[in-house]
Amino acid sequence: MKPRSGRVRYGDPLVERLPLEELVSLAERRLVESRVVERAARSSLYRERWAAAGVDARAVRSYQDLRAIPYTCSADLRSALQTHPAGDLVCSEDVRLWVSTSGTTGKAKWIPRSDKDLAISRELGLRARRLPTGGPVDLPDGMTSLGLTAPAPFVTDSSAAVSAVDMMLLGLPGEMIVLNYTEAADALLFALIRKPDVFLAFPSIAMRMAEGISENAPRLAREMLRQRFTAPHLLAYLVSRIKTVRVRDLVRFRWGGFAGEPLAPYRQAIRAAYGFDPGEFYAFSEFLGTMGDCYLHQGLHLWADQIIAEVIPEAELEREEASPGLPPSAVPLWKAPPGLRGDLVVTNFADALPLVRYRTSDLIEVVSTEPCGCGRTHPRIRVLHRVDDFVNLGIVRFSIYELAACLEQVPGLRRWQLLIRRQGYKPLGIVRAEPLIPPTDPESWKALILEQVRSLDAIRLGEENQLIAPVAVEMVVAGEDRRTTSGKLRLVVYED
């Protein structure tokens, strides 16, 4: 099955099933035809570093040529924004929108999007819509979806307007209710009465909503009955008087898709609370569009015609840590063996700011490069956690340096390590603290550490909103901390 006239038609589902080698050559052709590297060389994100590395952008004609280009990471993007005007980032004639990352450390990353970029997002959005179909769940056209978003300048703030207009332009039937999570409590009742078919949210917020609904079920059921006296609402009200009510007792979604943090720890809980088989999406602000898993849940399909994905294996990451300055080597995703873990590196064909060998700092695991049972041929991965200095407690995120600055205030603290595990589905942070000398009152010392940890806004808000389990402190003795194979102390340890 060859792309027609050498081009894949916009929104063509056939591209999801092309043999992998054809997808790879399609991506390679795009690499050349879009002159993405040449355009990127104009951006302040790449210009100086590439010049220093002797990169000849015009000579990049294949993946092999691309491999000679140095990696770029989020710190480079922050640095480019600090040292150059934002406009210097841009490689296209026009910018339509700017989107931002959280900037919880005060250094938000800003990413320009042009109309061509929005078109790529639209294309990938069409693919994402098709992902859950084909399985046991019936998802007919024209469904009502309920989506949760984050406030501007996060990328999802525009999703109500942009998605509605996109669907209108594409002639796709469907209805949308979009709630910012800061407004969700007020607006949820109406949204539930509208009986949406599809739910799109962050996993931790969805579960917090489920908990809140169960806690408030009698009041909520009474309110729904008051607003609409129907048999199901009467039943829900009566049930709420005698048993714990779950969301699924009040509203029956056909399906839900989740993004913003790995779904795996929440999957079972969401299934139990909402009564559907959840799907997972993967996206990040710097990248365009959405990747996701199909109904078989055998990993996230990475669109191989739209990105050139590589993996820096864990062993290489450790080598890099031991010998800073030595660039680690990457494996192309389409040649990576199943089970390989490492930092995901992406090159895309964006217009306003292409990503060229961009290290996502997401630790991923390769699931398979073989065709999936759903018929799609795009390689599949699993996203595990961060590999950089960002601590990821679900959607509660902060820099390890922020935490370090807080803990510097604790007297007698020799070393510390943050252990992250799960308490049920909620992320739990445990600070393992090693004192210089045994404190006279260990409990007060631990309380002081806890106080410092909670002075971080992200942690305090996460705990207050019950998105994470309360942080714990453990006192340890020398030698109990976890280290890399080279003996370096790991400040953050994820217990997957």
């Binding site: 916009y10 929104g11 005007p85 934002a86 406009g87 004639e93 026009d94 910018v95 339509r96 929108l97 700017w98 931002s100 959280s102 900037g103 919880t104 005060g106 250094k107 938000a108 800003w110 109309d115 929005l118 078109a119 978003t149 406030p151 501007a152 300048p153 996060f154 703030d157 525009s158 999703s159 109500a160 307007a161 942009v162 509605a164 207009v165 669907m167 209108m168 332009l169 594409l170 002639g171 039937p173 469907g174 209805e175 949308m176 209710i177 979009v178 709630l179 910012n180 800061t182 407004e183 007020d186 607006a187 109406f190 009465i193 509208r194 009986k195 607003q227 609409r228 806004d457």
Partner: protein, 361 residues
């Protein structure tokens, strides 16, 4: 795909038609667009109209429109809160938006509504003098409020039909102090700042608290567009803070039609090609207040003498839920009916505040 994107946005250019032609246009749209028949499918109107013996098919002109009963926010809340939501919608919705607050009015918008809003967003940008390749800093409200999506509608409208190549940077009050959007936006040198007047004020306060002068931070600002509340008495303050004369934009979830002051700032133009505005004069409001059950008389804006003050009543040709003689609860004063210095012929009003708040006071 590119062909699909090149859509024709409604409304087409009707900004300078003579007043009489605009009224004819509105009347034709009301009748030929089957607006009342469509509205009668919504329980917002159907029950009350049945009780009042209203026969939508018999309304053929503006005079007959005035025989229909008013609708107000209480009717809205009662209708959206009872029975099926599907019965609330006149025609298939694409997107739901809402008003602010705990007791929200939910408004369904269909594709025709979206196209109309996008067209009006482009009209607004021309009216306030937005030029090619200019940059807009939009303080967006959280979804589902109408103030969330309207700035993005302008960006999308420009993308598919405008050709101005506008650039948009958005921020929110929620993220003030948690993200550097005000400073980043300053670097992009926006010419337009657009937001709810409370949010614009919050931005100014946050900047001042951080020792920054808003006017100095945004030296290229030419247009400050505020919606959500009458500009007076904050106008002078905002002008001092941002160094530009703010313009007032009337925007509500029920009436998301971006009716705004033109650059000379001589009152908010009410778009007669997409709405039929009326005014219940203050004297009638007083009679209603003193004699409960009394139904006050309204005047079409085109028939009201300049200077008339009263409650703004509006009829629209909306797709998913048309407004039919909707009492907005907003007090207006008719400023002018003659052609404006900007060349537009649509009547101008000044918004004076909420009727309910005033009564309460």
């Amino acid at each position: 795909m590119e062909d699909t994107l090149a859509i024709r946005l409604d409304p087409s250019d009707a900004e300078s038609l003579p007043l009489g032609r605009l009224l004819q246009l509105a009347e034709r749209r009301l009748v030929e667009g089957n607006v009342l028949e469509r509205a009668s499918r919504s329980k917002l109107y159907s029950r009350r109209w049945r009780r009042s013996g209203v026969r939508p098919e018999r309304v053929h002109d503006l005079a007959q429109l005035q025989a229909l009963p008013y609708t107000d926010a209480d009717d809205w809340l009662a209708a959206q809160g009872s029975g099926s939501i599907s019965g609330f919608v006149a025609e298939r919705a694409r997107l739901w938006v809402s008003s602010r607050g705990k007791t929200r009015k939910w408004v369904p918008l269909g594709d025709v509504d979206l196209r109309r809003m996008m067209g009006l967003a482009l009209r607004l940008s021309a009216m306030i003098g937005v030029g090619p390749r200019e940059r807009i800093l939009a303080i967006t409200e959280p979804a589902p409020r109408i103030g969330n999506c309207v700035p993005y509608f302008l960006a999308m409208a420009d993308m598919v039909a405008g050709g101005l190549h506008l650039e948009m940077i958005s921020g929110s009050v929620t993220m003030l102090g948690r993200n550097n959007w005000p400073e980043f936006a300053a670097e992009r040198r926006p010419q337009v700042l657009w937001g709810h007047s409370d949010d614009v004020r919050a931005l100014a306060d946050a900047l001042c608290a951080a020792g920054k002068d808003p006017a100095a931070l945004y030296p290229h600002l030419r247009v400050l567009l505020c919606f959500g509340a009458p500009l007076e008495p904050a106008r002078a303050d905002l002008q001092r803070l941002f160094g530009v004369n703010p313009l007032s934009c009337y925007l509500s979830a029920e009436l998301p039609y971006l009716q705004a002051e033109c650059a000379p700032g001589t009152g908010v133009h009410l778009w007669l090609d997409v709405t039929i505005p009326e005014i219940i004069p203050t004297s009638e409001l007083c009679r209603e207040k003193s004699a409960p059950g009394y139904v006050p008389m309204a005047l079409f804006i085109a028939d009201a003498p300049e200077g008339t003050a009263g409650e703004y009543v509006v009829t629209t040709f909306g797709q998913s839920l048309p407004l039919i003689r909707y009492r907005s609860g907003d007090r207006v004063q008719l400023v002018g009916k003659g052609a404006c210095v900007c060349g537009r012929t649509h009547p101008r009003v000044r918004f004076l505040g909420r009727i309910t708040a005033e009564s309460g006071a």
